[in-house]
């Protein structure tokens, strides 16, 4: 329509902002790993609790380890594992949701009872209990997170599928003789990608927080692993004297969570085929 109102202009800054962040991030990585090149596990008690300097851009911790190196390595642990857990949760949840939503009937009822059972407990509590039962360690923590998170994707996908399958184009596809699997892949999947990506990028932040939180209380990554939550825990005794030790991992968490939320917003706009508000 000729009087469509564009909403895209307001969001134009998002992509360049994300790029800028990434560039900054990579230059820091290059400086740390290729120029300074510290061992993140090497204990050096002579250099403990040093303030900021060119050699130690963020100083050193209570065992004399370079904080910046540890935070950047921690990204691999925290973000990397978080991402992995997320992918597995999506890979389990999406097919489950499509099948339950499309087939309906007994399969759907069975699935819904499972989902209800999961949703009856808050994420955090279930994750704590599970990783407590399985024993501390990052792998068990990831299992616990996957266990809690896949339900969200299954539910989101199921409700989208239930709305879409009522529509005439699915009727026509059936009349055209398309098989159920083909309808799911060709006609339903495109409706889901956008929603799932948005939820996933927002979830990434939450999972990172969860990993850090559980590591902070000692259930996730074990010392000396430079996981951000574990680093927060390590720094706790020095909170009064060297607060920076707690602030840096904290900031790292905030930064990544914020980025993943921004990415979520960006993707939401990107996956909207109708890029305009119609009258």
């Amino acid at each position: 329509m000729e009087w469509a109102l564009s909403i895209r202009s307001r969001k134009r800054w998002k992509a360049p902002a994300l790029l800028l962040f990434l560039a900054l991030f990579f230059s820091v990585i290059v400086y740390t790993f290729f120029i300074l090149n510290y061992d993140p596990y090497l204990v050096n008690l002579e250099e403990r609790l040093l303030p900021m300097s060119l050699q130690h851009p963020l100083g050193t911790d209570h065992l004399g380890r370079d904080v910046l190196t540890r935070i950047l390595l921690g990204a691999k642990l925290t973000v990397g594992y978080g991402f992995m857990a997320l992918m597995v949760a999506v890979a389990i949840g999406v097919p489950f949701g499509i099948i339950a939503g499309f087939k309906g009937g007994g399969i759907d009822r069975f699935f819904m009872r499972i989902a209800d059972a999961f949703l009856a407990f808050p994420d955090t509590i279930v994750a704590i209990v599970l990783s407590g039962l399985l024993g501390p360690g990052i792998e068990n923590l990831l299992l616990a997170i996957i266990f809690v998170k896949w339900v969200n994707y299954a539910r989101l996908v199921r409700s989208t599928v239930m709305v879409e399958r009522q529509k005439d184009y699915i009727t026509v596809a059936t009349v055209n003789g398309l098989s159920a699997s083909r309808i799911m892949v060709r006609h339903l999947l495109p409706h889901l990608i956008g929603n799932v990506l948005v939820l996933a990028s927002l979830d990434l932040g939450k999972i990172i927080l969860l990993i850090s939180a559980l590591s902070y209380i000692g259930l996730g990554a074990q010392p000396p692993a430079p996981e951000w939550g574990a680093m927060l825990n390590d720094a706790r005794p020095y909170f009064q004297s060297v607060p920076a030790l707690m602030i840096y991992p904290g900031l790292a968490i905030v930064f990544v969570v914020l980025l993943s939320n921004l990415l979520g917003d960006y993707l939401r706009d990107k996956f909207d085929v109708k890029k305009e508000v119609k009258l």
Partner: protein, 266 residues
């Protein structure tokens, strides 16, 4: 005597004119049909009269009602007119009702905004209104989803005419209904118009819905009124080629569809 005079009304989206300086009048108690295809600007014209344009459209020109220009009238003044002197019936009968309120509650809300009546008087008035549009009193306690499209559209008309407005603007009220229901709705509108003497501005894309009832017709195309005149005059002696096309494309009974006359639209 005209109740509403539209003078060089234009409606813009940014710099694009959707309605290009149109003028027409609605006489007291008459039925004026505004006919045109989707995108011809007929619906935005009707919306402009009640200041119901969406925020990205703006109107320029004059719409005169009792010496007030409705285009520039302040929001508070407009609110006093809407419902009481000027009311609407829309195409989307589903969307016109709040799904979790009963029909009675819809009447209540309307009456409490505009009238000072006791509770029992309100109920009686609402039930009378329902009966006057050919429905049962019991509908008062029903929810919108329990009623058919035709019934809901009758209720919208009962609500719209409750306060005896001077002008009723009906924006495609029959388009979403099947032919029998729309016939009944049209008959109802015609009867109520006789009883209350209100003027009707009837917006439609289907000339057939206007033929029997309208006194005058204005044909809109691409934001302009291309032809205006008495209904029978226009129907039998259309002057503009576009009007001819519209008449010939309408499937009337007892006449095979004139396929050659219709133009393929891009």
């Amino acid at each position: 005597m005209s109740v509403l005079t539209v003078n060089e009304l234009s409606i813009f989206h940014a710099k694009t004119a959707l309605v290009k300086s149109i003028s027409f009048q609605i006489e007291k108690g008459e039925w004026l049909a505004l006919v045109g295809q989707s995108g011809s600007g007929k619906s935005v014209t009707s919306a402009a009269i009640g200041q119901l344009l969406p925020p990205n459209l703006h109107a320029a020109g004059e719409i005169l009602y009792e010496n007030q220009n409705l285009v520039t009238l302040r929001a508070s003044g407009m609110r006093r007119l809407r419902g009481k002197r000027l009311s609407y019936v829309f195409q989307d009968y589903q969307g016109s009702f709040t799904p979790f309120l009963t029909i009675g509650q819809h009447f209540e809300e309307y009456q409490r905004t505009h009238l000072r009546l006791s509770r029992s008087a309100r109920k009686e008035q609402a039930e009378q209104a329902l009966v006057s549009v050919g429905l049962k009193k019991e509908i008062y306690i029903r929810y919108p989803f329990q009623l058919s499209g035709g019934q809901l559209q009758r209720i919208s008309i009962a609500l719209a005419l409750l306060l005896k407005p001077d002008i009723l603007i009906a924006d495609e009220p029959t388009t979403a209904l099947d032919s029998i229901s729309s016939f009944k709705v049209l008959e109802l509108l015609a009867r109520l118009q006789k009883e209350t003497g209100c003027a009707i501005l009837f917006i439609t894309h289907d000339l057939r819905h206007a033929v029997k009832y309208a006194d005058r017709v204005a044909v809109m195309k691409e934001g302009e009124i291309v032809e205006e005149g008495g209904m029978q005059q226009v129907l039998h002696h259309p002057a503009h080629p576009y009007t001819k096309q519209l008449i010939e494309a309408s499937p009337f009974l007892n006449r095979p569809l004139n396929f050659s006359a219709e133009e393929v639209l891009g």
